[in-house]
């Protein structure tokens, strides 16, 4: 039994090493004086300085964050409404149709979303740039939020709503005092997932970004296509720590929620 435990842990550790090795490889060489990714000659902060002195890059970082936060906030609102709509639709057929439509953008390859949105924006006469990127990010984040919120809604017993109504709660009270508090974990999860998708997206943005406007991933792509430049390494180190901070935040939120309603039966 003891040996088995060790073997399985070994496998897990191996997978984790494989998962993290390239990331740490990037980070390690971001301190390389030699300016390449294979010959570590000495420690330097040079590349980080370069990142922070690169105003164009800084603007792009801000752009990316603005897009991600706006897109995930807006898509969370619409997504929660969508989940509520799906939950309260009576007819099974309608519900299934809505769910299928919801899943289309999740399973669609990024290139198709990007290409079709490019056509859409061109026809609608929306100038490619901030607006088009924001709209497409909202569009592909909504179904993710719906999927994160819906299970919570479905797990909620309808008697809770009936009880609230019987006790004289208005429609708004039911929503804000019963439903929303109940599904808050789902909403948070949806928001964070949307944030991840938005920050991580490259392909869709690449299609609808046009000239002049750029997000971080598009910028990284065009730099990486030109070959190795250690500013990308420095940037990825910074992004990694940013992600860790976000993850810790998410973990703490989850922990707190687990504690407040952690009296349930758990195997």
């Amino acid at each position: 039994m003891k040996r088995k435990w060790k073997l399985s842990n070994l496998y897990l550790i191996f997978v984790f090493i494989v998962l993290y090795a390239p990331i740490f490889y990037l980070m390690y060489y971001s301190f390389n004086k030699a300016g390449n990714m294979h010959d570590f000659t000495g420690f330097t902060w040079e590349w980080y300085k370069e990142v922070f002195h690169d105003t164009r890059l800084m603007i792009i970082v801000i752009n990316t964050l603005v897009i991600a936060l706006l897109a995930s906030a807006i898509s969370t609102v619409i997504g929660v409404m969508g989940a509520l709509a799906i939950r309260f639709v009576k007819r099974r057929r309608t519900k299934n149709t809505l769910l299928s439509f919801n899943n289309v953008l999740i399973v669609s390859p990024d290139v198709i979303i990007g290409a079709s949105f490019l056509i859409l924006f061109t026809i609608a006469g929306i100038k490619l740039g901030f607006t088009s990127v924001l709209i497409s990010h909202i569009a592909f984040c909504i179904p993710i939020v719906v999927l994160m919120v819906l299970p919570k809604l479905q797990e909620m017993s309808p008697t809770l709503i009936d009880a609230a109504r019987d006790l004289g709660a208005s429609q708004w009270d039911v929503l804000s005092k019963v439903i929303l508090p109940y599904i808050t974990p789902g909403i948070f999860a949806g928001f964070f997932m949307a944030l991840t998708y938005s920050l991580d997206d490259f392909a869709v943005t690449f299609f609808v970004t046009g000239n002049g406007y750029s997000t971080l991933s598009v910028e990284i792509y065009s730099r990486a296509r030109q070959g190795i430049s250690l500013t990308i390494n420095a940037l990825s180190t910074l992004l990694f720590f940013f992600s860790i901070i976000l993850v810790i935040g998410y973990y703490l939120i989850n922990q707190r929620q687990a504690r407040t309603n952690g009296m349930g039966v758990r195997k």
Binding site: S8, N9, Y11, L12, F16, V18, L19, Y20, P22, I23, Y25, L26, N36, M37, H38, I78, M81, G82, L84, A85, V89, L98, F101, N102, N103, V104, V107, P109, D110, V111, I112, I113, G114, A115, S116, F117, L118, I119, L120, A139, I142, V146, T196, L199, D200, F202, A203, F207, I220, Y221, A224, I228, I232, S236, L239, F240, S243, V247, Y251, K267
Partner: protein, 263 residues
């Protein structure tokens, strides 16, 4: 009054469906019937059925299949062991964390690792095989894609395993099934839905990953996605790009039907 509120929820959501789900697909379909000069024609479809494009499509499917198979092979045991470990929430977060790193950065890391003087080549030299061209080959494309997709396969399988009622396992064990039989006859069939959605989450994107092929495989590997990107953004032949996209959508629908969860 009750119905009003319900419709209020529906309005933005249905609007979203119409504008960003239905309309784009119809537009793709519409554009696929126009040639590069803007005349209505079937020339794009004729072109798709020439050996050049068919071979490209088949290749693309083959690569996607390989990537999915490798990813599944690595991910299932990982997900299984994760559910058994202590602090699984923390481990799960550690699995998710790499997906928060932009996949371009991960692909970029392999430019260094697989490069001529990178650690992969140093290792090959150390074990006596000698320096090889790793970057810009099929192998590097498969490796990097598998690497990138592992977390996306682990998560649905992990969730399926978590949902699995341990009572079934206890029952199977009590009834005398060996560990392997329990896994093969009970655990795996019951988590098949997770495996299916994992495969869905890997197979479809791997048909369309143009950025990895561009960065890692040079122009050696051309997937459906690469071809679409090329037609839309480089040659500006939106018609042909849309025609390929239509086939990609058809492929996607078939895959979804095959891996659909019937409940």
């Amino acid at each position: 009054m009750k119905i009003n509120a319900r419709n209020l929820y529906l309005v933005p959501y249905v609007l979203w469906i119409v504008l960003f789900v239905v309309a784009p697909i119809l537009l793709i379909l519409y554009y696929s019937f126009f040639d590069i000069e803007g005349h209505l024609s079937l020339v794009n479809y004729e072109k798709f059925f020439t050996p050049v494009y068919l071979k490209m499509a088949l290749n693309s499917f083959w690569y996607a299949f390989l990537i999915t198979a490798f990813t599944l092979l690595i991910s299932y045991p990982t997900a299984y062991l994760l559910t058994k470990s202590r602090h699984k929430q923390l481990w799960l977060l550690l699995i998710i964390l790499p997906t928060w790193i932009n996949l371009l950065l991960k692909a970029y890391a392999f430019l260094g690792i697989f490069g001529t003087f990178g650690p992969a080549n140093s290792f090959l030299e150390f074990i006596g095989i000698g320096q090889k061209q790793i970057l810009f080959t099929d192998f590097s494309f498969l490796f990097v894609s598998t690497y990138i997709f592992i977390p996306f396969m682990i998560l649905p399988i992990y969730n399926a395993l978590e949902e699995l009622d341990p009572v079934f396992i206890d029952a199977a064990r009590d009834l005398g099934a060996s560990r392997w039989t329990t896994f093969r006859r009970v655990v795996f069939p019951l988590t098949l839905d997770g495996v299916k959605s994992g495969c869905q989450a890997v197979f479809i994107p791997s048909l369309s990953l143009f950025m990895i092929t561009r960065l890692i495989a040079g122009n050696r590997v051309i997937t459906l996605g690469t071809a679409i990107e090329e037609h839309f953004l480089v040659t500006q032949d939106w018609g042909m790009g849309s025609a390929i996209a239509v086939f990609l959508i058809i492929a996607m629908v078939i895959i979804m039907i095959l891996t659909g969860n019937r409940k």
